[in-house]
Symmetry: none
Subunit: 216 residues, 2 copies
DNA sequence: ACCTGAACACCGTTCAAGT
DNA sequence: ACCTGAACACCGTTCAAGT
């Protein structure tokens, strides 16, 4: 029915293609090795040959996906779902900070400059300016999506503060010990946050959320 | 040689005992149903009878463990809206880390220990254990609220990862320069995150936002 | 109601065997 | 080197059958 990798690809690329196209779907979990093999039209042994472990495959796929996502500004490409564009946009902001230094160097430097000792007024100003710039970029992304109706009207400043906090939490997590490659869980959290914002209730009067009837 | 639940327990309690005692170990993953059954000395079917699903078992265990460990009064006070209780719970976790040192001292110390230089394996393990513990506490709060119907059924592990990231982002923001008292915006972001989780769509078949159409 | 153990439909990974 | 498919050692969940 909906089978088949593009013709002329090597087995390795067929596998990467299969895994990449299984990431976008609704499923939050990483696709199974067997499912990837089936979609790619190869045996599980072949997958194992090119990617000895599931994590190695996923790492390769995520790098591939973001490398093709990041370079051009896909924000305005309305053929891509709004969710993916906003995720990519935030991912770009995270990557932007890291660039050449590696995130660890960035954080250590920032810590020494702004936290360890009381920052000078100039340093303080500098930091605040950078933070403001980050939030502005997020607000810009939100505005673009709002312009095409993908995002309900609402307080984008608040949303930007929220998304910035999430990005910040992900960024700091990158430099602390982690069980595995953070890339996958990072993407999951980012998608969760973005989905929340994009699905936000149009702020009805009544407090729809919790149970209005706690007593019984 | 380290077998056996305390005598005189009902099957249900033997299962809970087994699961609870498997939580503390070094393993980061939730114990398998089969392993719990084996340790409890019952069949898998018996586990299934008392706890139809693995998550229901885990939720019950977490509630049991944390209720006896540190009773959090406000969390169970159903006269308070679920939103406020979850916010308060997260704030408690944030405060818990800080305690006497002040957040700046905590972060500087954590940085020196886990980031600045490559952490030892022991330090790494220690950090991971603490992180796991934090997420479990969040899962516990979610399970409690779910128990009274204030939270839709869903992947609490994912939600906990998300809320933990938000809390982490807020925590790190505390030590960097800020325009004004962060307390207000912090509370706002926390409430936003909590509202998102509590209002989460019950995951209808089609994820409304983007169209998942990769292949073609 | 409570419990058993087999069975179902999956996993990730390993590996002898082919080309 | 690349690939196959069977096999190993697991999963969570279902279920007919017992008590």
């Amino acid at each position: 029915m909906e089978e088949g990798p593009p013709a002329g690809l090597s087995s390795r690329d067929k596998i990467l293609w299969a895994a990449a196209t299984m990431l976008g779907g609704k499923s939050a979990t990483t696709p199974s090795v067997r499912a990837v093999a089936a979609r790619a039209g190869v045996s599980t042994g072949s997958v194992q040959h090119h990617f000895p472990t599931q994590r190695e495959l996923m790492d390769e796929v995520l790098i591939l996906v973001y490398d093709t996502m990041l370079p051009d500004d896909s924000l305005h490409d309305s053929s891509i779902p709004a969710r993916e564009r906003l995720v990519a946009s935030l991912q770009r902001l995270l990557a932007l900070e890291v660039r050449d230094l590696g995130s660890r160097g960035v954080w250590i430097q920032a810590f020494d400059r702004y936290v360890r000792s009381e920052p000078t007024e100039a340093a303080r100003e500098e930091y605040l300016a950078r933070e403001r710039e980050l939030r502005r970029r997020i607000e810009y992304s939100l505005a673009v999506l709002q312009g095409e109706g993908a995002l309900a009207p609402g307080d984008n400043e608040r949303r930007a503060r929220f998304l910035n906090t999430v990005a910040s939490g992900l960024s700091i997590a990158q430099v602390f010990p982690a069980v595995s490659s953070l890339l996958a869980t990072e993407l999951e959290v980012l998608r969760t946050a973005v989905d929340y914002v994009l699905n936000e209730q149009p702020a009805s009067e009544s407090p729809a959320p919790g149970s209005p009837q706690p007593g019984e």
